[in-house]
Structure formats: C-alpha cells, structure tokens
Symmetry: C3
Amino acid sequence: MKTNPGRFFEDYSLGQVIPHAVPRTVSGGERALYHALYPARHALYSSDEFARASGLKAAPVDDLIAFHTVFGKTVPDISLNAIANLGYAEGRWRKPVWPGDTLRSESEVIGLKQNSNGKSGVVWVRTRGLNQHGETVMDYVRWVMVRKRDADAPAPETVVPDLRTSVPAADLIVPEGLDFTRYDFTLAGEPHGWGDYEVGEKIDHVDGVTVEEAEHMLATRLWQNTAKVHFDATNREDGKRLIYGGHVISLARALSFNGLANAQMIVALNAGAHANPCFSGDTVRAWSEVLDKAETTAPGVGAVRLRLVAVKHGAPDFALKGEDGKYLPDVLLDLDYWALMPM
Amino acid sequence: MKTNPGRFFEDYSLGQVIPHAVPRTVSGGERALYHALYPARHALYSSDEFARASGLKAAPVDDLIAFHTVFGKTVPDISLNAIANLGYAEGRWRKPVWPGDTLRSESEVIGLKQNSNGKSGVVWVRTRGLNQHGETVMDYVRWVMVRKRDADAPAPETVVPDLRTSVPAADLIVPEGLDFTRYDFTLAGEPHGWGDYEVGEKIDHVDGVTVEEAEHMLATRLWQNTAKVHFDATNREDGKRLIYGGHVISLARALSFNGLANAQMIVALNAGAHANPCFSGDTVRAWSEVLDKAETTAPGVGAVRLRLVAVKHGAPDFALKGEDGKYLPDVLLDLDYWALMPM
Amino acid sequence: MKTNPGRFFEDYSLGQVIPHAVPRTVSGGERALYHALYPARHALYSSDEFARASGLKAAPVDDLIAFHTVFGKTVPDISLNAIANLGYAEGRWRKPVWPGDTLRSESEVIGLKQNSNGKSGVVWVRTRGLNQHGETVMDYVRWVMVRKRDADAPAPETVVPDLRTSVPAADLIVPEGLDFTRYDFTLAGEPHGWGDYEVGEKIDHVDGVTVEEAEHMLATRLWQNTAKVHFDATNREDGKRLIYGGHVISLARALSFNGLANAQMIVALNAGAHANPCFSGDTVRAWSEVLDKAETTAPGVGAVRLRLVAVKHGAPDFALKGEDGKYLPDVLLDLDYWALMPM
C-alpha cells in the first residue's frame, strides 16, 4: 500500500518527533491570494511601506498564512484519522515570515491519554514551524482525538501535559525592530490605540461574509491541507463539505479589522475552540472581547489579549454559551489571542 | 463605538481632503489573480518581454488593477452610506503601476448639492491614487448620492463642479518611453491598428462569461473594497449579492480583447454608468463603439476613444437606451474611455 | 469583422507554422494559484529549498503550468472550431520554466486528413512552447477534428504523421543539474523510490475533490484559454459549462501525490484521452498504473512511465474500458506520461 493511511492512536509515543512533509516557499502570490480570500486590511501586512515605517524590512506574510501553512503540513500525520480537534494552547509567533521564505514543520508528542472506551485516545503535540534557516517561526500545542487501529492495542501511560491557560504577557515575542512610535493611525484606518481599549470591552465587527464552496477549498488547498472532509462532497452522508476551521479563523480575524484595525500583529494563540461546524452558505460575522492588556519593551508597542468569536447568521449579541455551558449553535469559533497595538 | 459608521452627507465640506486607509503593495500575485479572474489577454500586461519591446521597463500591472485598488480604498470614506454611484469623469492614468509599488489614495471634496427631499445629497470628489514616491498614478472624479445622518442638518452651499464631458486628446498622458514603432501585431493577437478603426464603428466582442459568486467576491476583496452588499447575502431582501460595478468593468474590458486586442493601455476614463445591477448567474457579454480618434506625440502611438458596453444574457444588438432615454434592462455598464493603440 | 472567427479545416496547410498570441510572464503568483486550485504537493515545485537540494536553482513552476500556458495560447488558432480534441503524442518537457520567464507558443501543421463526410477534417500540429531566450521549454503533438467553413472546399492531400506510441526512455530530457542522490524522502512525503514500483502495479490515490464552477473557470482563464464552452453557460443546450480537460489533468496529477509523491517531474506526455466530459459537481478521483520503468544518466534519477486515470463519483475499481472497447462512462481522463523519481 503506497498511499498514506494516516497514524492511529497507538502509532504515537511520548517524546516522538514527527517531521512533516512538504516544505513550502511562500511569495507575493500567497499574499495576494490571502487578500482575495479574506477581507484582510491590516496595514502592516498590506503595505511594504507601512511595515518599513514600523521598523520591519518589508511587510511579512500574514501571521495566519504562517499558521495555516505550518498547520496544513501536520494534517497527514496528526489529524487524518482524528475524530475531533480539541484545542490549542501556548502558541507563539517567534519570527516574521517573509516572501521567499520556505516553511516546514515538525511535531513532538507531549501527551497521550487513551479514552475509557478503548477505541480512541487524545494526542497532544507541540508543533513547530521552521524557516529555511532552521529558525522556529512559530510553535503551538494542539490536541486531537484519534481513532485506534486496533482496539486491543495496549494503552500507553497517561501523560497529560501541564499547559498554561494563556501565554503570559512577559513571554510574548515582539518582532525585532518593531517600533510604533511613528505609527500613522490615518493610514492604518482607525484612530483607536492601545490606550483606547478597556478590559471587558466588547466590539461587534458589523460586517458579514457569506461563504462559498470554491472559496474555502481554494484557501484550504493553498495551505496544502489534505483533510478529505473539506473537498469531497461524497464524504459525509449529508453531502456537505466541512469548512476548515482555519478558514473561519482567518475570516473572523479579517472581519475584526472593523473596530480593531490597529491590532496589527498576532503574537500568541492562547486557546481556541471550533465550537460548531461551518458550511458553504453560512454568513459569518465576528465580535471581540478585550480580555487583558499589557505593555511591551518595544517602542510604542502595547499588547492586547482578545477573544475573537465568529458566529453565523444574525447579528452577534455577544452570547457565547448556553446555561448548559455548551457553545450556542450559532457560534463557530472562540479564539483567544494576543495582538500588538500602537500605544 | 470603535467601528466605522461611514460618513454622511453633512460630514463632507468643500475643499476637504480625505486621506484613505489602507496602503497596499501589489506584486506578481495580483497580476496572476487578475488573469485568473478575468479573461485578460492584452499583451502589454501579460508579458514583460512585450512591454520591454514597447519601451517600458516591464509589464505594468493592469490599469484596472490600479483603478480598483485606488477606488477600493475610498469605499469606507465615500460610499459606505451611498445610495447610488452616479458617475465618473476626468479620469487619467498618469504613471504605470509596477509590481512592488505601494498604492494609497486620497479624495478631495469638489462639489456638494443637497437633494430637494432634504434626506440626502450629492458629493463630488476628485480621488488621487499615489505610489510610494508620492507620485499620482491616476486621478478621477466620482460623484455619489449619500444619506444624511440628520435630516435637520443645514444644507451646504451648492457647488456643482464644472466637469468636462471627456478628457481632451491633448491632455492624455502617454507613459514615458512608450514606443509602438516595432509593435508585433502577431504576438499581440490581432492585425488591426489605429488606422483600421473608424469613428462610429461598433464591435460585438462575441464571447460571454457566466459569473459565479466566488469569483466576484475574490475580486472585490482583492481590491479591499468593503461594501457590504457585495459579500453579505443577508443584506438585501432578495438574498442576492450585488456584484461590484468594477468587476463588470474588468470583465467587459477583458472580453473586448476579441476585436480590440491592440487597445493596449487605458489612459483616460471619460464617463461611466453602472446601468443595471449584475448578479451571480448572469452571462456577461460586451460590445464597443469607436467614439473618437487622436494622434499622440509618442512614436507609433495613437489614441482611440471607446464606448464599452456590458450586457447580460443574449447576444448584444448594440441597443443602449429605450425611447424613454433610460438604459435597457440588459445593459450593465456604459463606459467611455481612451486607450492607446499602435498606429 | 475585427473579432477572431478561428480557423477552419481548409485554413491549414502542411508545413505551415502558426505563431500564437499572447506571450505570458509567469511568477510566484501563478505558483500560488496553482496550489490554491489543485491539491498539489510535489516538493520540488512547492519548495525552493527542496529544489536546490536537488540541484536546481530554485523551484520551477509546475510542469503542468508550462503545459497549460503553452496549450492555452493555441486555442484561438487551433481549437476554436474544433469538434473534438483527439489526442496527444510525443510530448517532452525540455527546460524548466522559472518564475519570471515569459512563454509564447507556435504550432506547425504536420498532418491533415479530411473526413469522409466532407464537412470536417483532422489536423495534426506539433506545438512548441518557447521562453524569452527562444529556447523550447516543451513540445508535443496534438490532433483535433475541425469543421470546414465550406463543405465544397477541396480536400488536401492526406498526410497522417507517423507518431510514436510513447517517448522512448532514451529520449527523455532530464533537467540540467538534477541530482536525487541526497533526496529527502521524509520531506517529500513518502518513502517509496523508483525501486519500490513494479511494472503493472496499480495505485488508488484515495482522495477525491468535488469541482466547483468558479474553480475551473479561474484555472482555465489563468492559462488564457478562451474556449467558450468553459465559461458561457448559455453555450450548451443543457446550460452546463464543460470543464477544460487540462483542469482534470492537473487535478488527477495532484491527487496522485498520495501514492506517487516522489514522481516529481513530468518529462514526457506519451498519450492522452479526455474520455468523458467533466462538469461542476463531479467528484474527481484518480488511480495510476505503472507502465514501464527506465534508468537515466542523471545521478539518482530514475524514470517511471505511468498511466494516470481520472474518474468521477465512486471509488476507482481500476476499470477503464467496457467490452465494446469504449471508455466506461465514469472515466474522465486516460493519460500516459513519464515522470522522474529518486532511485
């Protein structure tokens, strides 16, 4: 059998490092496509000139291009037989990714726990994205529920990693040279800086996008994500293609420009839940909540911790979970991240 | 309220200059996407070699990429609360835009006229697109009807700008170095030069394209145009997404290759009307009429003034308006522009 | 009449060389779009670093980008009035195409045979794709059935070219410098090298993609292919748009990564049949059969001759033709090519 059957729960062992295929060089082409696929307008990624005025050598590719590219490579090894994508933690962007860079990724197994039904288990991996210089551009922990090939295979020792509920502000990595002291709020699109946001504040990002099949498939392929459910309408009984959760992340982040135009760079992913599936025809909207704020040592650069929620259909009412503690059916995404903002 | 509510009629004042967010660097990615989105085949934009043989340093990005990018930036400030896009005039392309250039735009209010109903008014702006050197790459006048926030706000003094019905041939700007004396008609795709077209001649461009939702949304996002009606199927009562008028302009211009393959560069926009809305599923066709011809001082370069009409459904019969003087229901676009052609 | 009516059978003469419009410069934009349009993962085209480790200066653009670009230019001259695309033969890739290269193409008429009905005939052309240095990057023979304009036009002398059923292994051209002796199978995605494949072996590539209208139109336009049937839903009585056969070739080739990840470079096209039409909504799958194997003189580089079959709907059962010798209705493509693999 020459084709990839994916890994099953018993194929993972603690400490194992899995290098993922296929390296990928990104260019202005990926940047242009990102702007075509999402209503992305953050100035630092849209304009080389704006990035230079902020102390960088040029506009990096969007932080989420880096994330999706690194993530996409892990799919054949980590989630081909996954039943559920359970969570993210401790994600940090460590180096900007520039057009011309080549990315690859590898994952280390940091936790294993067989489910009580004996048929599946949870695998925790720390995934690292590396550039052509071998530098880590980002890393994050992700855990998935994976089927066992053989229900009789022995259970591994249970190791549940001790993960932080959020990346401490002191551990955020500000890109070298970043300087927001001469930040042009007019060119960036909104006048609100770090000081204008209060913890607890909620922002309805107003705009909505109705998603089409061609769009999410173009995006998901662009990140070389091969999961069948996104492409093959015969895969589910209802004939629907499940939209890659990362597509919803990028849509929501781009929509959040309207109200958070100055939350320029994503520097940490604290947590994330794909609360409900998204399908073609859904109209996606987003709202954010300011969870925390911190200063950084970089000139003029503050950090803001945000909850980004994507919902479908009607205007968001900032509701997240029901009385049963479960996500409401219209909530698609609940993402917790740190972004850098001008002071 | 952190999100952009858009400007209302009383927010504009004569002489006001509005700098628009977000600057944008274009690359080979935008060029490739333009070819994927439209059946664009004009050789000067398709081939660096052809452009070099015509005296340019490389193929510029399509003139309409420049237009859409500059226009897209104005939407949040000019047309978010617009009821109607009333017209264009005095548009001129002044400098080619090259891959790597960063574009921004700004608009000056040059006219204001409150409607007699007191609920809205017409705003005229002259919009300039600027590159990273501060050079104007194009400018044009556009006027829109905008809602008032408060019907009781006082009416401004009425100033209706005196606009020319077309850019005089003597004012056309030929890109520096352009030379069509060694023009290769075979490589360009058609044998007809400037001398082969007669004023009054009409050309049916034959081909048709049936438009899909994903296509026009990819295009409209690529220009960072944020108008809700193009993306959000819940925005209109009929559940339709209105296709950005500029998408129809680019479609029609690309279709016009078949019969006008040598009308290489657009140098002026004299007038334009989005006669009827275009929706997904419409099959767009185009025809042109030669309105005028002029020589230029550049070697081998002539100018031709063209009416470009986009229609939907059946083959065009060159009909434009009914006996009531109104556009026929199948007419989508009536555009009046100057293009440069080899003599 | 300024528009292109296309050529009819009597417009071709033996030995005639037809230079095709419009030259095209390719860039990282086309590469990114190729990854968005197809689930392409072959490492040599995905990563500049992987290509350098294989002795090339960078990742070339995909061999099929070269093919589609060269082919697209021939459509207005060869197949605008074609009734059927009958076959391919003797295709060879001679030089990699790099981002920044400008491609044009020309076709020489090498065979003519009027059909017995007197209304149409078969035209054989050898098409060459040339880069900006005038070097042939690829060439192939293609034959099509073309309508006559005038049934009374005299029949040309019948000349049927003597075509080889496949390119002999000794005639395969390995790109200069290619060296697979330090090939990284892990990064490439699969452990199977040239020695692991046996003649007669069949591989089900497992994955499927359900095709959308927007996707195949974006792709077909990207190659500047202007055939009406792909874009205009009013062109056929059933309102369907016929998907460009080359779109199915690229889809199937990309799907074949799963099982043939190391069949890196396509170097010859031996034969090809578009067995049945493909339409939006079809779910495309693929299987391959190893037809032949050969060594090459390049270090660590072997050649494998593959049959690539695209099917629609259910899982492939490796069935190709019925008892009547005709392709089964679910077979879309039967392609015979040579690829280069690490030993």
